[in-house]
Amino acid sequence: MTQNDVDSLRENSKLFWDCEVWRVVVNIQHRFEDGYEPSDMDSLRLDFRQQLPNPTGRMRHRQFGALWIDVNICGLRLERGGEILIACHDSSEKVLERLKELVGKALVRVEIAAPGGDTDFVLEDGLVLRCFPATQDGGAWRISSAEGG
C-alpha cells in the first residue's frame, strides 16, 4: 500500500468521523467437529448514524453507512489506553460482551499506516479498534454509505 493509497482511504473515512455507532453486527463461525467445537469471529460490521440538527430539540438521526471488517484476512483487537480488551480469537462470549459496548460510541478518527495498511479506528472514550491486514490485496475492511456506495 502506497502513501497515496493511505491518503485516499483516510480522506474517504473522514465522512464517517463524528458519526455514531447505532448497531454492531458480529458474525461468529461455530464449527462442530469430533469432540471439538471451535468458534471464531468471522466478520464485524459497525452501522453508523449521523445526528441531524433539529431546532425543535428532539434528537433526529439518519443512517449514514457502515464499516465492515473481514476478520478472516486481518487481525482485530479492541483496546483502550494500550490495554487489550478483546482480540479476535478470544472466546466468543468475551468478544460479544465487549463489542456491544461500541453501541453509541462516535468514530473520532481513522489512522492508517503504510505499507501494511494497519488501521486504527479511534472511537469515543479512548476505545481503539485495531486492524492488522494479513493480505496485500486490501479488502480487510471497507466503508460504505447507507445507499451502498
Partner: protein
C-alpha cells in the same frame, strides 16, 4: 506465505522488539527485512518461540552464557 518464507530464508536476524502491552513483535532481519506479528488472542501467553534444529526450545537470556559441563573441544584439547 511461501513467498514470505523465501524472502526470509538465508537472512540474519538483526534485532527483535516485543510490545509489553500487546505482545506484538517486530523482528528485523538483514537487508532491512521486517517480520511483524500481531497478537490475536488476549487469553494466551505464548505467541512464538525459538526452537533449535531438533525442535527443542531455544532459551534466550543470560543462561545461554553459562558454559556447558562437557563442551565439545577440538581433538587433543581439555576444557579449562
Amino acid at each position: 506465505m511461501e513467498m514470505g518464507i523465501r524472502q526470509i530464508d538465508g537472512k540474519t536476524l538483526v534485532s527483535g522488539e516485543i510490545s509489553q502491552t500487546a505482545g506484538d513483535s517486530v523482528l528485523t532481519f538483514s537487508d532491512d527485512l521486517v517480520l511483524r506479528t500481531f497478537v490475536v488472542a488476549s487469553e494466551e501467553d505464548a505467541r512464538w518461540n525459538f526452537r533449535d534444529q531438533d525442535g527443542k526450545y531455544f532459551r534466550l537470556g543470560p543462561e545461554r552464557a553459562i558454559p556447558e559441563e562437557n563442551p565439545a573441544m577440538p581433538d587433543g584439547q581439555q576444557p579449562k
